[in-house]
């Protein structure tokens, strides 16, 4: 993470509405980012000819070429991390956005601090894992299935089990490291980042919530076991498969 000191992170901000774009750009600059503004998809493409930003913030609804189309171009051709700005907050928009490769999305009106937290989180993931071709592959364990794009957890009978985003990230942390002991600090580090209130949430609390949803008997957990001396382990194997490949 030395790059943050050496050169500011460059962000391309694309929104047709100057009333939002300009103050947001100012805010991000105050937060230490270098921001290039574009009022349309066409303008954004021109900008991209001369420079390569580290991350793009795209408004979905724009006149002319819309954000989703530009997003596809950016993630496929430029392999650029993208965060979508959406006015609707509809599940459909989120799923479409994430399916065409956006890394995250925020719903207008968003909290600027939350946006910054997400920018950092997306950049951290981009640095750590690089482009992850397996990103949208389904997790499978003990008959359960987790779709990381739709954040959809289904039990062995195919019933959807609704989980919160904190539980989702915790579960993904476990599924990415099956049969490895994860101490609380490590889990906290992997789970935090998107919602501010999670920083001071005890990991134990989240684990017990998750257990209530996926364990047959929450008092005698079989899948997520407690390790003496502080930590948890996912005591099962995990398979990953591309959506639509299995079934």
């Amino acid at each position: 993470m030395t790059s943050e000191n050496a050169a500011p992170t460059r962000i391309l901000l694309v929104d047709d509405e100057p009333a939002l774009r300009e103050p947001l750009a100012e805010y991000l600059i105050r937060q230490g980012f270098a921001v290039t503004q574009a009022a349309s998809a066409a303008e954004a493409r021109t900008v991209l000819l001369n420079q390569t930003p580290d991350l793009a913030l795209l408004d979905i609804m724009m006149p002319g070429e819309d954000g989703l189309s530009l997003c596809r171009h950016l993630t496929e051709a430029k392999e650029l991390p993208v965060i979508l700005l959406t006015a609707k907050g509809e599940a459909m928009d989120r799923i479409i956005g994430l399916e065409i490769g956006a890394d995250d999305y925020v719903v207008k009106p968003f909290e600027p601090r939350e946006l910054v937290a997400r920018i950092r989180s997306v950049l951290r993931r981009a640095v750590r894992s690089g482009p992850a071709p397996q990103e949208d592959a389904l997790y499978e364990f003990e008959g359960w299935q987790l779709d990381p794009v739709k954040r959809r957890l289904t039990d062995p009978q195919g019933v959807v089990i609704p989980i919160s985003s904190a539980e989702f990230r915790l579960l993904v942390a476990f599924l990415d490291h099956p049969r490895q002991v994860m101490d609380r600090d490590r889990l906290l580090d992997m789970v935090q980042g998107r919602e501010a209130h999670l920083f001071d949430r005890a990991v134990d609390n989240q684990v017990s919530r998750l257990r209530r949803k996926i364990e047959d008997e929450a008092r005698e957990p079989r899948l997520i076991q407690t390790v003496r001396g502080g930590g948890y382990v996912l005591a099962t194997d995990v398979r990953r498969s591309l959506p639509g490949a299995g079934a």
Binding site: P23, Y27, K88, K108, P109, E111, V159, V160, A166, K213
Partner: protein, 495 residues
Amino acid sequence: MRLRFFPRSLLGQMLLAVAAALLVAQAFSAALLYRASEQRRQIGVANGLAFQLVSEPRFDYREAGPNLPPPSHTPSPTPPAEGRKPPIPVPPEAREEQERPRRWQRLRVEHTLISPLRPGETRDTNRENLLREILAGQGIEPAELVVTNRAVSDDPYVKQRLRDTEKWRGRPDWVDRGLIVAGLLRKGEKEWTVARVPHPAPEPGAVGGIIAQTMIIYVMLVGGLALLLRRITRPLAALTRRMEQFARTRETDGQLEPAGPEDTRRLIEAHNEMEGRIAALLDEKDVMLGAIGHDLKTPLAALRVRIESVEDPVERDRMARTIEDITRTLDDILSLARVGRPSDRPENTDLAALTASVVEEFEDMGEDVAFGEGARLPALIRATWLRRALRNLVANALRYGGGKARVSLRREGDMAVLRVDDDGPGIPDHELGAMLEPFRRGEASRSRETGGAGLGLTLARAIAEQHGGSLRIANRHHADGTVAGLTAEIRVSIG
């Protein structure tokens, strides 16, 4: 009370009405026909009797004496036997000639000195009157006239005659029907003339004819009517199906071609036109709502960014909360407008986990919400929507219900019941119904401070109905009648 076989369709009711009317009309004409034929028969009988009584020769042509009654084997108490003379010999061929009228005559006409009405027999006054009229028409004024009905077995005269003839003629068919016996005493005479006629046989064709006629009319009329009505009801049924489909999908594809009679055609045309207008209005509404959502949320987002530069953190937080309130109201309005046409498909989802995740959101915000975790309860629902409905109820309970909420989930038959209880002051009973209307808030919370536009319950109800269920809100009472709190229940259908 509902008749089980009463037809519900236009076709069935119409046919039933026509069939019933036809049945009544046919019954009337059958009754009239029967009466006419009955009258004809009675007149026939009376005429027969009158003919016998009147045309009866005053003398037996075999008897010599002018004023003597004809010979008779009647066992009447005073048989006029003393006046008898030896029969005049006749040649065999003439004898044969005479035998027949004599037998005919003797079977029917009898002369007695006493009234043929025997003790215990009743007079048939109807026939007497009829007969008297006919006789009057012939210029005969009877001194006395009796008519009575009698079984053959009770009539020794006929029995005697039958015994004589039965041997070679066989038993006549009228024996079982009984006799009508008429006695006439003319003025200035001492002897009764007694005529007998068997009861007339019923006319067999009368009732059968009317039934056959009714049947034919039924087939022609009801069948023809059924064909005609089907021409009306088939397009109507198609139109009904089309309307149901339109109500479900709100798509203008697959509109009906106008068919059937002119009236039905015009109905279908008018309906198609209306569908087009409704679809256009709905599209307009969606475009407008989308525009509102976009046009208002972007400046709100700008405002939200701008307030970050406000120095005073208290002031900044207040501004942020106001923006959140506006956003929530905007979301509720947009959701309410969209709830009728859900874009996401229902999924089999565990309601227990869904409820838990909503409760956990509130816990994470430091709210006091209790939920006794129960067994799995999978149901075919739209999770995003139902979560929102439940969230609204819990938020209401926390806001107006004293800061505490209890959530529970149970199953009742094929419905799942999500219940939210608070310990607040409740809502006055007369306001309960109005609480479900848009932009309504309880009396206690009219001030802007508590926030919310009052769409929460409206939206929750719309979502519950979208899930084939309902929303109920009611006050809970202590034993002494004071309000213990408010209960809100969402019922959703499982599966």
